[in-house]
Symmetry: C2
Subunit: 311 residues, 2 copies
């Protein structure tokens, strides 16, 4: 399959794929998105630190954690992970993006333990009233947007930072552009020559590949209102807790079916869909995959230990 | 090996054997003590619910949880276990014995989740100022006693309830004791015959086997002050985080060496010692076992998935 945006390595590691109750083989939600050398942990169910160890994913350059909501299967592993990081000597600050009460929950457990972490926690609170950029680094930006679940819950759109435009070498030579001006031109500026002539940027460069983006939507009822927030994302992870056979449960508990997830992928015109957050009632996952594939392609199952290339 | 007290089945299942940081093969502290049909969970590190599943230990009749202290490796799995029990339909009350702040930590996480448990939590707070019975059922009693660690921390002595005395059938026949009086006599009462004669209980019965007891001491610095609290226990579980090579660390962090654990076992005259709570630095545990065995025998390693018979 040929994807439209081809750039630096973006990889997604699935650490947990179950919904509220784990099974013998499936763990609660946790994923690591690796953009270049930076790692972002998305949700952190119980046992995440063990899953990181099991799959050999180092904690180096893991400086950002996104927590969608405060149902336990999405964050009960966070305090243990932070504690272990501290015991192993981490000193670099950690940015945690999540619901307002998360800080209080971490704080009370640290207070009870009589121990402070060896590193700073930078808390960024998500809000349910808007879709906005909550965090930005040189390598990526993170937007959060409201999901319709039973409590405060947000999805995340993680986008690599825009790439520099490509220099048109023929035009650069023709207009005798000095090397010192390349950086500004690649950033999109026109060139003003010493004799007062302006060469438009569009003449000197060609567009860079589109930045790749990854959308994470768990947990949510089927909700077309999120489509504008994730439109055109390269890869969409969307929860698919149930098959249509249990659509009544999906509606009751504000979850999605595999068909619902695929419908959102179709409406958002993403390049690929990953489904996960499977109910423990499904020993085999073929039914979920088949149901989604009938609506949207390509779609794959989130399988713990597997790595997915994005872009 | 023949133990002195032989009674109903008491079994200990080890679910976690590591200290603060888990390893690929070892999980944080958690044990299940089974007395007859009742199960008591002692400490509940992260991943305990998965370990219960892995080792096929059913949650039925698990109605009591003891938490020694609020370092994460001893309780971070509790909220997840309680949540899963609720999701699976538990309605029976759960008694939780632990430090004062434990209730607040559970409460804030339940509040954040927007969900109440389907069953009642009965909280019993441990205290650091005395050794006393904190809980009693028909089948067992639980005493807590202070341990010297860095924060509020208690050990537990769990004892099966005293057995009924054995009827001396020859004496029963000789004195023509009616069946209706057996229960009171087995409970230790003398018999008063209709003609005003008193038959002493010691004539009518022989002593029952001594109740078996299990002492749990984790985490603690080497501390002979605990010996009176655990004296004569059948089995002692004592933390042995380090070998003597790291005795300075044991002292610094208020932990014990294997030699220290064995010395406590010797002083308390227990029948057997189980050591655990191993530092992640030890890939192999032979050194810890050898060090303890030089002081006290029999001693065994706490190995996850193994069952130990007590009494």
């Amino acid at each position: 399959m040929l994807f439209e945006c081809i750039q630096v390595s973006i990889e997604l590691y699935i650490l947990g794929s179950s919904s509220a109750t784990p099974t013998k083989d499936r763990h609660p939600s946790a994923q690591v998105l690796k953009i270049g050398s930076e790692k972002i942990l998305i949700d952190c169910g119980e046992g995440t630190q063990s899953q990181l160890m099991k799959f050999g994913i180092k904690q180096a350059n893991l400086n950002t954690i996104c927590i969608s909501h405060l149902h336990g299967d999405h964050y009960f592993g966070l305090i243990g992970l932070l504690s272990t990081m501290s015991l192993y000597g981490r000193t670099q600050a950690m940015t945690i993006i999540g619901p307002p009460m998360l800080k209080d929950i971490i704080d009370i457990q640290l207070t009870a333990s009589g121990m402070a972490l060896n590193f700073e926690l930078i808390h960024i609170e998500t809000t349910m009233d808007k879709h906005h950029t909550v965090y930005q680094t040189a390598a990526f930006s993170i937007q959060s947007f409201p999901l319709q679940h039973r409590i405060h819950c947000t999805g995340f759109l993680i986008q690599e930072s825009p790439k520099e435009r490509h220099l048109n070498t023929a035009a650069i030579e023709h207009y005798q552009i000095p090397v010192a001006a390349y950086k500004a031109i690649k950033a999109g500026q026109d060139y003003n020559s010493p004799d007062g002539q302006t060469i438009p940027n569009a003449v000197l460069t060609t567009a860079a590949a589109s930045p790749c983006s990854y959308a994470y939507c768990s947990d949510t009822i089927f909700d077309p209102q999120i489509v504008p927030f994730i439109k055109g994302a390269h890869t969409l992870y969307h929860e698919a807790t149930y098959t249509n056979e249990h659509a009544d449960r999906a509606e009751l508990y504000y979850h999605s079916t595999a068909e619902g997830a695929a419908t959102i992928a179709q409406m958002a015109e993403v390049k690929q869909l990953i489904i996960g957050h499977y109910s423990s009632r499904y020993g085999q996952l073929d039914g979920l995959l088949k149901e989604a594939a009938a609506v949207f392609s390509p779609v794959v199952l989130a399988i713990e230990g597997k790595t997915y290339t994005i872009g």
